[in-house]
Assembly symmetry: C2
């Protein structure tokens, strides 16, 4: 990433501008030729220049693409093969299972088998630690079954839809935009006349913006058919993605499974504000299942019908979005892909310090910048390659109905760049919707830094005179006076000042009461105001746990290259971080002998006592093969009990990625491994602390590069 | 529990027997009087004796009840007041929130607010440690959305129902059995003629057995009306408790939200068996949401429509239910309430060693006994009072449609004895149902201890002769021979032995082929069989996490009595175990001064770094009041930073239940508290290790007894 991208980008932009200008020249000349005001030779000369400029632009664009580099260089064939190999491992090793497989399965539903489940639990528990504990958030667990009024208020009943088309023969359903997208991309893969190509590219760019009608027009124009069958398809129509159900036995209370966990926080806002001592800002968090009845789910566990979300709603005074801990993340460098970069000529993200991005106005405020930083450190801790992760700002039309700004944390995997976390500014949208629908206050009191002084009209009924005169009607009169408009109050004051008395009826309606001057004080006064009620803004980092998990699996999976290994001997490795690894440590007896086994069993017990998931491999194969087997399932540490152990109570501790080994006392082992797993120490530190041990593996192996697509499992 | 219950019980049983005999005498005499074979005087004498015997039985029963004692002595008024006080704390302190409260709430749906959510997460994570990690279980996470065929096979579509009645005017729905139960209990509360009383008691005892028809008869007989309105009610009819939905956009795939997590394990059995190397026994575990559309949920979070289950399915060879780790739990003592004790005269559980219960045949096998022991240690670790917990065996008619034996872990709370964990022997029911419905193998291979030798009839077609003769029909002939019944094979053999040839048609049907002796070998042979395929039995410990949590809250909540405190000064305490406490430690600066605050902030950071949820209380109130405040929310440890801290870097560490204090170095504090929370050390050990500190609280306080109902919060 050392190339000066800004310089290269500027060259592209300059070339684009020159070419655009010449394009305008050509159009003008065409008109002039028609009007007899220019010669055909002049026009031809201009067209030749335009061609040259465009070729130049293409060269510059390619140079830029190469300078940026990244995983996109890998061919789609390699990606497909890599994914297939990984998929095979994930299914055969029970990381994932197709739900209800014995009944033929259900599209979009996946189960996590033992290692997948353990990884997921580890990611979730680190999420709670990194966010809920360290940021002192208020965690809640709300119902997934949600009554209709809540989701009507939030806009989901009306707007949480995708456009669907049906195969006119089989009735099979498809997402309209996906069909059109596939068709257009297929067309672009063939040679096309320039105008046609630009037209298609334009539709593709606007795909998310298209309403039912234009989507229908485009589908008809490009003659989309049902995939596989090739049958005619229906016009597109909206399909609500929520699973509907009925709550209670009467059958008259409609409900849905929540499509996001966020609403469970918003509806509890008044209680949570109260719990927080009525103070802003504060963040609430929730981790749980959400449900979306996708039209035709594909892409493995990246688009599923039931998934785990981890959402944070940070409630904040919209006028004070500074963050006290921003300095802690300001120096983090990451790829930012702003709206400007996306719509500009050069569609590439930029590696930046968060502090600089904020200073340059690329990020709007400290709070959103701080969360981007925290998401970045979370993602790298669970094993996402920082070079294949970027934060991309949503284009205007991309944003959900509730958002006013949004940065997605996208991770590159074999499917392309996948949104794993969305960091949205939902403004006050949700709280206002719920306040209006529920008729409950959803506001917080904000104290001004210093009190403000405002002038206001005070109307003060003097009860002793009113009571004396009106007796049982006193209340009516008092209330009428108190609820007068400012205009009427001033009118009454003028009348009383002039006449000493006035008929209340003329100013308030209602009964005909004669008011005298002594009965009411009407005056302009300056009042001290120390704060105000506001509807808080909301910054929402929202995680799709399954997506984070899957992308991490892709980034951690590789083939270990041994210098002179044959193709069939190549060994696959998951380089899980110790934090997320499903099994933390494997224990081997060097030989199948009871004295070794006894030591191993005792060691396993003490490792498990320390909360470490532990395996014991007592098979008689070579240590090298047993190491390879633990590498394959991503166990970060292995302990071998050998002859020396029986003498001096030490054993060999081996680290998976470096394959280096140290010698550690048996009683120290659980503590050392626990500290490694909890990131309280590093392998380098352990290597300094304990004597190193000659490698039994022959030192021929070396780690592969992160997610290198040229490496494939057999 | 020191009384000789067996002796007292025997006395009751003897008295019961004598009274029963006399009852028979009276009935016989009545018939005899009618037939003129006995005098009325004889009958009256017999009746008088019966009355005396019954009075004697009553006295003995009461004596027994008093000997057993327990929480049931507390009056229902106290229970109600205790519950109301606790409920107020739980709602006001945000442990629980009525879901969607701003929209009026939904019956049977509760959210967990921050402290409730933290406790729940702690219970769940200890469950995973105690069971999944320490017992090496295979954890899975399966879909909640479930297609209909799965739940048809499991029997839930047909049988997972409750009987419902409707208010004929308002349409309001009620559980038929609950209405009848309430009505009968109300009747019993009044004076009743003996026969009538026994009749009602009999219906109450059989309540769970009643089908729609008899339930209807009884409801009519006892004139049950709709509660509150007093309206007429409909006949009872079954209502399925599953939430129904539709999967996918076509609307033709019916689905349900799972009513239990267990099915997600059963359908994955073949994959899990494979993951476990095809070996039995093994256990799979799942923790997740289940959904039941209860007819009219009451009892707070004890009966809700969405709840967290933690289920274990232990797959085992039904002929080998021994457990290698049983010895580890054999000495645990707990209250066991067997079926015999429940149907006997004296309906009381017995305090027993698990080892003894197994030896006496009260528990059927080691596996079920081992799990009862593990459940017991789990429950006490999370804060359930062992004296208010019992294991009750289901009566025959109580068991779910899938169970053949079941022991409930019941916990006493203000609602009575609540089932929190069920330990059911589901036998092979579920696997067999799914095998039949899915047509997939759901069996495991069991190797015999030593091979068995069995005689079988072998039919071996000799292909070279068959091929030569029949050419293209060879396959048909071979197949016909192979699939013959044993009887036909013996017939064919006899024919071939006698004639040297035979028509295949006579023995197999199909084409008319002439078989000669050389074409087939038919012989009895002894075969060595090393094992067999079986459908495993399943032992299922199933936890309702919300119920465990609620009962724990009741057991942990009490009013701390200070010797001379006024009523309004009484302080409530949650005596949460450090393991489940939502906040582990509070940090106080002795005075509101920046030098104290700075030390506190640094200490908080290092406590949080150690994974401990930490609060800081910087208010200027007295230390005593601040301690009381942390006691009220159940924080087990408090650290006070004072003048000495600034000199020697030590601070006071105070334990909530004993209110005793020690002096610990700041750098040791995070480790000490972490070890206390993870149960790696005890407060007694900490007191031995560190110097004690004079109590700033004056030592006037003492802990209340567990869940004592006489103690109430203001």
């Amino acid at each position: 990433m050392g190339v000066d991208l800004d310089q290269v980008e500027k060259e592209v932009l300059d070339a684009q501008e020159v070419a655009d200008d010449q394009g305008n020249n050509v159009r003008a000349l065409k008109a002039a030729v028609k009007a007899g005001e220019a010669t055909k030779a002049q026009l031809n000369e201009a067209i030749a220049l335009l061609k040259k400029l465009k070729a130049d632009l293409d060269v510059k664009r390619k140079a830029f693409d190469e300078a940026v580099g990244g995983g996109s260089k890998a061919s789609s064939v390699n990606k497909e093969a890599f994914r297939q190999a990984l998929q095979n491992v994930l299914l055969s090793r029970c990381f994932l299972i197709n739900s209800f497989a014995i009944y033929g399965g259900v599209a979009g539903l996946f189960d996590y088998g033992p290692p997948g489940c353990a990884i997921k639990a580890n990611i979730q528990s680190y999420w709670k630690r990194h966010f809920v504990l360290e940021e002192n958030m208020l965690e809640v667990e709300a119902s997934a079954v949600t009554p209709e009024p809540v989701l009507k208020a939030s806009g989901h009943v009306e707007r949480f839809t995708d456009f669907m088309v049906k195969d006119k023969v089989t009735g099979e359903c498809h997402r309209a935009d996906h069909l059109l997208e596939d068709k257009l991309k297929a067309l672009l893969a063939n040679p096309l006349e320039g105008g046609k190509r630009r037209e298609i590219e334009d539709v593709l760019a606007r795909l998310d913006e298209l309403g039912a009608e234009e989507l229908g027009t485009q589908i008809a124009k490009y003659e989309c058919k049902a995939p596989e069958t090739g049958n005619e398809i229906s016009d597109p129509y909206p399909f609500n993605l929520m699973f509907a159900t009925s709550i209670g036995p009467r059958g008259d209370t409609k409900g849905y499974l929540r499509p996001e966990t966020a609403q469970g926080i918003f509806v509890n806002f008044p209680r949570l504000l109260n719990y927080n001592g009525m103070k802003l800002p504060f963040a609430a968090a929730q981790l749980g299942q959400s449900f979306r009845n996708e039209i035709s789910p594909k892409q493995g566990i990246l688009r599923v019908r039931e998934f785990t979300q981890a959402e944070i709603e940070h409630f904040v005074d919209p006028d004070h979005k500074d963050h006290p801990k921003f300095a802690k993340v300001a120096d983090l460098e990451m790829l930012l892909f702003s709206r400007e970069k996306q719509v500009g000529a050069v569609k590439k993200p930029v590696l930046m310090r968060l502090g600089d991005a904020l200073a340059q106005g690329i990020l709007e405020n400290e709070t959103i910048a701080y969360f981007i930083g925290r998401v970045f450190t979370f993602m790298t801790a669970v094993g996402i390659d920082p070079n294949r992760m970027r934060f991309r700002q949503h284009l205007q039309h991309e944003m959900a109905h509730y958002a006013c700004d949004c940065w997605d944390c996208e991770v590159e995997c074999s499917y392309g760049w996948m949104e794993c976390v969305g960091i949205a500014d939902r403004s006050a949208f949700d709280l206002k919707c719920h306040a209006e629908a529920s008729k409950k206050e959803m506001t917080a009191w904000i104290a001004y830094d210093k009190p403000k002084f405002v002038e206001e009209l005070v109307v003060e009924p003097i009860s002793k005179f009113i009571g004396k005169t009106f007796k049982k009607d006193a209340k009516t009169v008092t209330s009428a006076l108190k609820t007068m408009t400012e205009e009427n109050a001033l009118g009454l004051k003028a009348a009383l000042d002039a006449e000493g008395e006035a008929s209340l009826k003329a100013f308030c309606g209602g009964g005909d009461f004669k008011i005298t001057k002594e009965m009411v004080r009407i005056e302009r006064e300056t009042k001290k105001v120390s704060g105000k009620f506001i509807t808080p803004g909301v910054i929402e980092p929202s995680f799709g746990i399954g997506r984070v998990l899957y992308c991490m699996l892709e980034h951690c999976y590789y083939v270990r290259q041994e210098e002179d290994a044959k193709e069939e001997d190549k060994k696959t490795v998951f380089r899980f971080t110790p934090l997320v690894a499903p099994t933390k440590v494997t224990v081997f007896p060097l030989l199948q002998r009871e004295e070794f086994n006894a030591v191993c069993r005792k060691l396993c017990d003490s490792l498990i006592d320390s909360g470490l998931s532990t395996l014991m491999d007592v098979t008689g194969t070579t240590i090298g093969k047993r190491y390879a087997r633990t590498d394959e399932i991503g166990v970060p540490f292995a302990v071998t009990v050998d002859h020396d152990t029986l003498q001096d109570n030490t054993a060999t501790l081996r680290e998976r990625d470096t394959t280096s080994q140290v010698r550690v006392g048996l009683e120290d082992l659980p503590g050392v491994v626990r500290d490694l797993v909890n990131m309280r120490t590093t392998w380098e530190e352990v290597q300094r602390r304990f004597p190193s041990q000659g490698g039994a593996e022959g030192g021929k192996e070396k780690g592969g590069a992160a997610g290198d697509y040229s490496l494939r499992c057999p």
